[in-house]
């Protein structure tokens, strides 16, 4: 059993899933689902489609260089079965996965570090530049000509009048 990678989105293709296309020069394109296959048929470049791993790696959204990736590699030589080795490997998989997740979180934090400060800066700039668009509520209270005439009272009076007419 071998878990292949999808050609388009680089996710894992589990046995029995997806479709594979064999080009005449014997290059095999594996797809995890029809979504990826359709995108391939539309001749889209995975590096330009935002949800693929290729795009995210290219733009530095995901961690690319890490020692934890070295363990997951295609090996063409079949390993001879050894009970102890298998046991150790299964133990190591969990540990490596944990380490990888921690490192990915750290990468994300690093990437998002300056975001809040940047947003604040932009907000301050906008406030300075377009303060003329908004008036302070105290200014409205001081100068009644700035507020709209109140229609609420008129609306309340109308039903009373109709009632009175009905009585007459």
């Amino acid at each position: 059993m071998r878990l292949e990678k999808c050609w388009f989105c680089s996710s894992t293709v589990y046995p029995g899933h997806g479709i594979q296309f064999v080009r005449n020069d014997a290059k095999i394109f594996r797809f995890c689902r029809s979504k990826c296959h359709k995108n391939f048929k539309m001749k889209r470049n995975p590096r330009k489609v935002k949800w693929t791993k290729a795009y995210r790696r290219l733009r530095g959204k995901d961690m690319t260089q890490d020692s934890t990736f070295e363990f997951e590699r295609k090996r063409n030589r079949p390993e001879r079965y050894d009970r102890n080795l298998t046991e150790n490997t299964l133990k190591a998989i969990k540990k490596i996965d944990k380490v990888r997740i921690i490192r990915e979180e750290r990468h994300h934090e690093k990437r998002m570090k300056g975001k809040k400060a940047k947003e604040n800066r932009e907000a301050v700039k906008e406030l300075e530049q377009s303060i003329s668009l908004v008036k302070a509520p105290t200014a409205l209270q001081q100068d009644p000509s700035l507020t709209l005439p109140i229609k609420v009272k008129v609306l309340q009076q109308q039903p009373e009048k109709t009632v009175a007419m009905m009585e007459e």
Partner: protein, 168 residues
Amino acid sequence: MAAGLASKCSRVGRSLLGGLGNNSSGLLSTSHEMTCSTFLSQQQRTFIQMRTILKVVDNSGAKKVMCIQALKANKKGARLGDTIVASVKEAHPNGKVKKGQVVYGVVVRAAMQRGRCDGSEVKFDDNAVVLVDKQGRQPIGTRVFGPVPHELRKKKHVKILSLAEQIA
């Protein structure tokens, strides 16, 4: 007053713009779909049936054959790995097979996808055939070009598999 008016105007303008934007995007998407459907790769691929022209990928001398009957296959036609009866439409001047001859062949590549034993699917670039004798066992040529699926082993065409360059 002025402020209120301005805000109203802006709201109307935005809604108009939004409507325009929606319309334009809808138009774009429909045109895109139309262009995509005209792609050759998006063509609906079907069974190999009467009058299907297939490429011959061996050195028997024939270049192109036309299917005239699918043997022991689905009622609708032949798929990957099935045997067909065909008539030679194009041939090399001094090959083993002449133009107009009726020959038997095994479909080694089909553009229509075929389910694999594990539930995934496989498809190829084109429809190709390897000519065999009337018993359907021995290939007429001595070489096979291009990739060939491993399903042929199940169909007991081991000779073709051993001659093939690549097995997909």
